[in-house]
């Protein structure tokens, strides 16, 4: 976990091309002063950003321009990048309940769309506490 000091915030990367969803998540996190959110709108920016600096949590939509979220995550997990072990939360319309899974020490969570604030916050806080 990077957010160690009292002043240090958890850095979260949100990759989401849908502006409405971006706004929804920003709104969910508006009062979470311990979180610093970085928002990108496509897979390319997501990859570039994730290659550039380390995050404590990455929130990924699947369908994004340039590169899909899953492929970005797959690359990040395969390489020596800063974020090869960063917990990931994916948004999907296919799941019906939230789930957090840990494989080989890698945290992967799935959140069903539409997002519900309580579920969303509980999930990410649970992940952040764990790391």
């Amino acid at each position: 976990m990077t957010g160690t000091g009292p002043d240090q915030k958890f850095r979260i990367l949100l990759a989401e091309d849908d502006e409405v969803n971006q706004e929804v998540i920003k709104a969910f996190l508006a009062n979470q002063s311990h979180i610093e959110l970085t928002v990108v709108g496509d897979g390319r920016s997501a990859l570039e950003t994730a290659l550039g600096s380390r995050f404590d949590l990455m929130l990924f939509d699947h369908n994004m321009p340039h590169i899909t979220g899953d492929r970005v995550i797959r690359y990040l997990r395969s390489g020596n990048s800063n974020n090869s072990r960063t917990p990931v939360v994916r948004f999907t319309a296919e799941a019906d309940h939230a789930q957090i899974r840990t494989t080989d020490g890698l945290v992967e969570a799935v959140l069903p769309k539409p997002l519900r604030a309580e579920v969303f916050l509980n999930t990410i806080n649970a992940i952040l506490r764990k790391t």
Partner: protein
Amino acid sequence: MAFEGKQTLGHLASPDLCKGITPDLVISVLGALLAAPDGDIDCAIAQALDRVGLALGAMLAVSDTPGLSLPLGPGLGHLCVTPGDQPLPAATLDHLRPIASGIGALLARRLTAQSHPLGDVIEALDDAVAIFDDAGRPLACNRSYRALYPDRPPVPQHLGDGTGGVAQRELPDGRILRITERRSAGGSVISVHSDVTGLVLAEERLRNVIEGAQVGTWDWELLTGKQHVNALWAKMLGYTLPEVSPVDYRTWSGLIHPDDSAHVEALIARCLSGETETYEAEYRLRHKAGHFIWVLDRGRVIRHAQDGQAELMAGVQIEITEQKTREAALQGAKDALEHALSERATAEQRFIDIAAVADGWFWEKDSDLRFSFISQPDYFERIGVPADQILGKTREEWLEANPDVRSSADWELVFSALRDHRAFRDFVYRAPMSPDGDERWFRISGAPVHDPAGTFVGYRGVGSDVTQLYLAKARAEEASRTKSMFLANMSHEIRTPLNGVLGMAEVLDSALTNPEHKRMIGTIRRSGETLLNILNDILDMSKIEAGKLELESLPFSPVELAERVEDLHTLRAEEKGLDFEVLVGSGAEAARIGDPFRVQQVLHNLVSNAIKFTDKGEVSVKVSGRRGSPLTIEVKDSGIGMTADQIAHLHDEFTQADSSVTRRFGGTGLGMAITRNLILRMGGDVSVTSEVGRGTTVRVTLPLPVAEGNIRTARPQLEAEARLDGLRILAADDNGTNRSVLELMLTRCGAEVTTVSDGLQAVQAWEPGRFDVILLDIAMPVMDGKAALHEIRLKEAEQDLPRVPIVAVTANAMSHQIVEYLIWGFDSCVSKPITMTDLTKVIRSMLRR
């Protein structure tokens, strides 16, 4: 008694005298005379004469016609009467006789007066004149008198004590008369009545003016020294007239300000001597209250004595204290203004002087953002932009005429500043092409100007020709790009063969069993790694130079880090026969936050150097630093040591303690420069103590914060997982060596490997479900990796197949390239030179579900 019928009065001796007199007139006069009561004969005669005029008297006087006549007196002729056909009765004649004598007497006196040559003049006067005999009987009066009193006989006024006097009378119609009477030596009285209405009114007006204007008046009798002043003169000085009277020269000289008297007296003297016609002076007089007042005094000599000496001087005086005060204030203001103007002139001159020698120019815009001033018109003329093409125009207008200039820079930066009345700085644009065809670049800065009330009044700014600078910068940037490109290329070119060397050696190492062979392959691997290190050093240094080195901020364990470095160097130290130990002080186990890779690089460099420059003895590493104090790394050796001078140059790039050192020990000389840079970037410090022949101690302190909580230390044991058993892998590389390396590495991990030498073969080898992972080199002949990838992805899409993981194998694995690969459709990439660790990790991650 009455005349009846036609009657003729005498004959005229002198026709000239009788001109205008008709017989009828004479008759009527005589009739009146004859009708008058005896006692009033004189009065009647006088009235008759007045009506007839003096000419009749003259006529009568010279009449000497024989006939019925009465003598008027000696020399006066006769009063001739021609009564008509009948002779006058004796009684009538008797009656007429005293009348004749009365007329005679009257005539005698009248003639006396009348005969004077001034008679005509008196007659012509506008003033009314009458003469009376000593008994007060009217003798004569002039035309004006008769006009003044048409109905009334002249009456002496008996003014004064009878000898004469002056009086003023107002007539019922408002006219004002001044009556002057004089008794002559002969006893007759002359009375003059003058209409002075205009004069009196003028005087009154003058008086009003004098009082209204608060003008003091004075006159000065020079013979007696007496002076007369008016009440205002006195009041001006705070006195009443009686208080200052009598005034004389001493009065005045006692009042004048001592500093003024000499000057004023000199002016007066010049006037008195006739040198000047008038005298005028401004000076101060003492007020009754003690202070001085300023007066303007103006006078002239109004009368001179016979000998030409000034006799009477008169003048007016007004107070000008207020004017003087204002004048003084005005003068003060004027002085201040002049001072300010001269200051301004100095400032302006200073500005002009500076502008003349400055590299650039100054410009000004008015509140409409139109150019109102350019400091060096000559220069602009010379470069083909005459000032008149700029002045009066806005920047936009000027740019419209110069589209090339507009397109040379992002003018919106300037325009938005201008719109908001903000300052802008160092905006660079290409100037219009000069007549000599040279490219020119200008740099401008400007700031809004406001008046003291805060109203925007325009812009002022500077500009300069930065062509040299700009072109030099462009060249430098070009050179820097070239250098970066060269380094990147070199990195690529060196990494490709190194891939063969190191990869093959790694595989071979694990296959060899003969100790001698093992030793040999070890040398090859170390040599390759050294080369790779040098390459990395060069890249690091170029990153540092370009300011592109970025530091991570991660929790890491100093203990793990020390252990890793120990692992890396133990072998080398043993080979040199050195005692090598790494100690981690108690309290230093806490995780720190920083860039573990860079901290390791620092430690690695220091230990490498220590081992390199130490032939016998020991090298020790001590990592310490309790919570709250910086992480401290101390590397101590018993090597060759350095002189103070060598230490001083230690951190210079490309410098080792001695160039001979390079020959003896090898290395780029970049190591210490990189190390020092990294330490400084991490906010740390480094100190070196050394003694030639005894050894060196390098002490590094890094103020990295302690990480709270536990950090992940249990990294997956890669060795155990580095198996690819049963995986079917296709690898395409045009380089035979690389193909062999890949094949050996993958086979050793248990994979089934198919190798091809270009993209086309890879596409041809692909069959649905035949491979679990495909590795494609990017740069290949016939068909490159990208094209092969596309072909395979296309086929998968056509057959609606799941996408097989395809990994790019490349020497170019910068972030932006990785992004490109993923966009093309690769799933991951491994960078050359390939290590088994990387390869297995990537492949396994591709297949993780």
